[in-house]
Subunit: 221 residues, 2 copies
Amino acid sequence: MEIKIMKNILDRNQNKADEVRNLLKEKNVVMVNIISSPGAGKTTLLERTCEVLKNTFRIGVIEGDITTDRDAIRLKKYDIPIVLINTEGGCHLDSHSISKVLPEFELENLDIIFIENVGNLICPSQFDLGENFKLALVSVAEGDDKPVKYPMLFREARLVLLNKIDLLPYTNFSFDNFYADLQQINPKIPLFQISCTNGSGIEQWLKWISAQIHSKSNHTA
Amino acid sequence: MEIKIMKNILDRNQNKADEVRNLLKEKNVVMVNIISSPGAGKTTLLERTCEVLKNTFRIGVIEGDITTDRDAIRLKKYDIPIVLINTEGGCHLDSHSISKVLPEFELENLDIIFIENVGNLICPSQFDLGENFKLALVSVAEGDDKPVKYPMLFREARLVLLNKIDLLPYTNFSFDNFYADLQQINPKIPLFQISCTNGSGIEQWLKWISAQIHSKSNHTA
């Protein structure tokens, strides 16, 4: 009896993610779930991305944050729809919270929704939000051992962005070690080296994400 | 009836932390719970600490890691007792796991146990492991907004170590903003600026932690 109840709960969770995914597919909206450690550069990546892509695509953002609105405020200048979810101590977003906030957007008028998940390499990897794909963002300042130490995210993600490569000369980060570990975990995953501070590699990322939007939604610029 | 069961479970958790704390007090062992984001420098801090303090104090380490033994291996060179807990996906340690591994140490022959928690600013802050105190470690590369965005850790900790200050010239980290936010959250908490890479500020930290060991355990060097 109890086992049956548990199964129903699990089913409901997955059903909600599928519900979100189906709704977005119907509305032709791509959804990307950005996951990283605290301070790896999720918001700065979104700044770099919105400032260029808002001229080509209709962008929405869901900001996941424990308690503040600081990241959401940083993105206000792009005049795009932003919904903030404060988890109040919760360490990740889930599909139920995404489902609840989607009605805040006019989905017919969007091409893509970026979700900035709560800063955490672990728990967010374990939850399907109904996204098209997860994006793993990691900073060279965190060290080259992150893929092997937090493998689930790197297994789940469709793309890895290695950020803050402008700090490379000042750290003992070994790109070879990082790459070798990543290959073990997810051999086919693309990896771009970027710096959201000096703009290095951003062009390649923008090209890649634009192609994802085009291929999924069939919108043209 | 159900509420009663829940209360028993919660009581058991806190009881276990208290049990750990009482055992360590009886054995005159200080326990420190080190919490940070992935890659903020917990293991490098322990390297810096062990290489000096092992000549003065008898040190043990509990390594919390999701899946690898990499951090534990880095500390093997100090010839100190190390116990590794692989959480297998779990995002924090809890008092039950600490209680289970304590018998692996000869507590009579230890002055201090450092716990390196799983790399995560959120969940580890919420669990009492039976430690004497929590230590918050944060890297300047993570940005100056960490106290306000992850307040629980900075409220719970007895000391904040701001690591990687050697990277300060290459980031937009504002010490004034960081300090002002920290003051709002925990006005009396001491804050040391350190670099585990170039050794800056390490002396101050070693002096502080040595004083904690002396005052708690009454061991003399």
